[in-house]
């Protein structure tokens, strides 16, 4: 029997069941955002990360409300003022366990982590430091995300020389080490460092732009070949509309993963900048700045750097755990 006579297959049948039944929805959902979100509900790592993020963000919101609207009324009423200590200008030796001046009789429950060289409570300062870290993470990442998405979407969609120019520009941005870029940014536009933190955030945001731009661009390249974009084009829909309506929503899952991881990176970098003196300035309560203080005292108080360090680590781990979980969920290649 010749093949041509009986070359029919069940393919037709399979196609029709796939297009109609549950399967098609599942295939689409797998790359979609909702699938990713449902998937992490089963992942303990991602859930722990999410819990850490929720706790730190809540703390940050409370601290921000108190700092901006209530002028530390909450802190002073129920705790201590995070910026002003009893010894405003005297360089008092910091107080706490491990300190050579430590005196057990002075220990009270009210200063569980001790006080710093101005007599300010370390625990309060850590609490209010959360606000800086979270703000920095979200603001700078949003900047990078929006800028990168626009650049990548335009470059990927139009292609050709527009793509070449934009991607070379992004590559240049990537080639300048971000820490130097940010420090130069701070020094260039803010010599007395009044707004150093703001500039540090913008700088880190710009430094993260290339990653998002590349990500979106590669997504656009694959998505724009797909039929519905072709169909939209054939129907005479404007390019800008296609990018906004089809390409960007379809790239949301990987961007979300990258953004979550980037928030952690941004917190780490800005803490590093504050540590070097180019970020948050005294008397702001920020973890990086507290580390900077601790650095001067390291010979007498090594433990002093531990608490802000742990705070940074836990917060960043939270974002990394969630990001990792999201990535595993969004990546069909490493599914079971």
């Amino acid at each position: 029997m010749a093949v041509d006579d009986t070359a029919g297959t069940l393919d037709r049948e399979e196609e029709s069941t796939e297009a109609g039944g549950l399967e098609a929805e599942e295939v689409e959902a797998r790359v979609g955002l909702s699938y990713t979100v449902t998937q992490i509900r089963r992942d303990p790592t991602a859930l722990v990360g999410l819990a850490i993020i929720i706790v730190t963000t809540t703390v940050a919101i409370v601290a921000t409300v108190d700092a901006v609207f209530l002028e530390y009324w909450l802190a002073e009423t129920f705790w201590y003022h995070p910026l002003r200590g009893p010894h405003a200008d005297t360089n008092l030796p910091p107080y706490g366990v491990g300190n050579q001046y430590y005196d057990a009789s002075r220990t009270t429950l009210s200063h569980p982590l001790g006080t710093d060289f101005r007599g300010r409570d370390v625990a309060v300062r850590l609490f209010y430091g959360t606000r800086i870290a979270i703000t920095v993470g979200f603001v700078s990442t949003t900047l990078g995300l929006v800028g990168g998405t626009l650049t990548g979407a335009v470059a990927g969609y139009y292609g050709g020389w527009i793509d070449d120019v934009l991607m070379r520009a992004v590559e240049i941005l990537y080639a300048i080490p971000f820490l130097i870029l940010v420090i130069a940014f701070v020094v260039a536009f803010d010599p007395d460092r009044k707004n150093a933190l703001l500039f540090a955030m913008i700088g880190v945001g710009i430094a993260s732009l290339p990653t998002f731009a590349r990500l979106i661009r590669s997504r656009v390249f694959s998505v724009r070949e797909e039929e519905y974009v072709e169909a939209a084009k054939a129907a005479g829909v404007k390019d800008r509309w296609i990018i906004l309506r089809h390409v960007i929503p379809n790239s949301f899952a990987p961007v979300l993963v990258q953004a979550t991881l980037q928030i952690g990176v941004a917190i780490l970098i800005v803490a590093g900048l504050s540590f070097l003196g180019y970020g948050a300035q005294p008397p702001t309560a920020s973890w990086g700045q507290m580390l900077n203080n601790a650095r001067n005292l390291m010979l007498t108080n090594q433990w002093f750097s531990i608490f802000p360090g742990i705070c940074i680590m836990i917060t960043v781990i939270g974002f990394n755990m969630l990001g990792d979980g999201l990535r595993d969920a969004a990546d069909p290649r490493i599914q079971n």
């Binding site: 080639a175 080490p177 010599p191 540590f275 580390l291």
Partner: protein, 322 residues
């Protein structure tokens, strides 16, 4: 043949990128408020003296003339047909100018400091790769077993830990007894390498997981190839492609990390040089160090691209872009 052509094309592509780095650096440096001549001369300089120095360094010219001039200066000498402006401190046919702060040619300061930083970064990457690759492979092979969980936690903590307080503790012990050259390198290497290690481990793991479920790996198993050979050869080689990419991209992070590490461990490398330069508003030094960092990065990326093309035949034959 394919590989060589690819390498040449990639090198040519780097030229506009380097030009862009010079441009951005130049204008960003010039946007810094404050007059370097004032800083150099100290308090109350005479007007004539100031003008003489401005003329000597070409600072009296308009910005765009200085820009063109600077581009001419930093270009290798054999590319510059005419140079309207005399070289200030040429070395190796490149003129990066004279440092105001150190009162020495920028290129000499960089030649002094660069080897230290390259050694630090080199050993950090060597440490990171040597630990991360086996860790990632084992983690993927023993997926969801205790080994995997431990190494994932190590990687998570690694990328999340601010390396600077750890360095503070390390620096404190340095004041102690025997401070050997090895000791000097070990702690900074670990401090700088941990972040790269964690990033590489994560990529290695997911790349190996992806490879282990590939049809050609399953086929190798079906033909009686042992797990060991699969891990070392069939799955390993293709899995290194994303790892190579990430190593290239980690270079920027490593350069930033070097700035921190050098500051904390008081290592006189490029990182501290650039901080000094920025603090002293030493334009020529800021521009020089940034450009050299940019150059290191570009060379690193090209090197990773070429090794990518070496591992993946599809790239050098032009089927797929890196």
């Amino acid at each position: 043949m394919g590989l060589l052509r690819y390498a040449v094309r990639r090198l040519l592509q780097a030229i506009p990128v380097l030009l862009g780095i010079v441009t951005i650096t130049f204008f960003l440096s010039n946007a810094i408020p404050g007059d370097p001549v004032d800083i150099m001369l100290g308090a109350s300089p005479g007007q004539a003296q100031k003008e003489a120095i401005q003329a000597k360094f070409g600072l009296d010219k308009p910005l765009w003339v200085r820009y063109i001039n600077y581009v001419g200066d930093v270009s290798p000498i054999w590319l510059t047909m005419t140079d309207s402006f005399p070289y200030v401190a040429p070395e190796f046919g490149v003129d990066l100018g004279r440092s105001i702060h150190f009162r020495a040619p920028v290129s000499r300061k960089i030649m002094e400091r660069l080897p230290v930083t390259l050694l630090l970064m080199g050993s950090a990457f060597a440490f990171a790769i040597a630990t991360a690759v086996p860790l990632g492979v084992i983690s993927a092979y023993r997926r969801n077993k205790p080994t995997d969980h431990v190494s994932r936690v190590v990687a998570l903590v690694g990328v999340s830990t601010p390396s600077f307080p750890a360095e503070v503790d390390g620096a404190a012990t340095q004041g102690d007894v025997v401070v050997t050259a090895g000791h000097h390198l070990v702690l900074p290497t670990i401090a700088l390498g941990t972040l790269q290690m964690a990033a590489i481990t994560r990529i290695e793991r997911s790349a190996m997981l992806e490879q282990l479920s590939q049809d050609y790996v399953r086929l190798a198993r079906a033909y009686g190839i042992s797990d060991r050979t699969i891990l070392r050869k069939h799955a390993f080689r293709p899995a290194q492609l994303p790892v190579i990419t990430i190593i290239g991209l980690q270079l920027t992070a490593a350069i930033g990390g070097a700035v921190l590490t050098e500051t904390v461990f008081e290592i006189n490398g490029m990182g501290r040089l650039i901080i000094t330069a920025i603090d002293a508003l030493d334009y020529p030094l800021i521009m020089g160090t940034t450009i050299v960092f940019g150059l290191v990065f570009v060379i690193g990326v090209i090197a990773t691209d070429i090794s990518y093309a070496y591992v993946d035949p599809r790239v050098s034959y032009g089927e797929r872009e890196a």
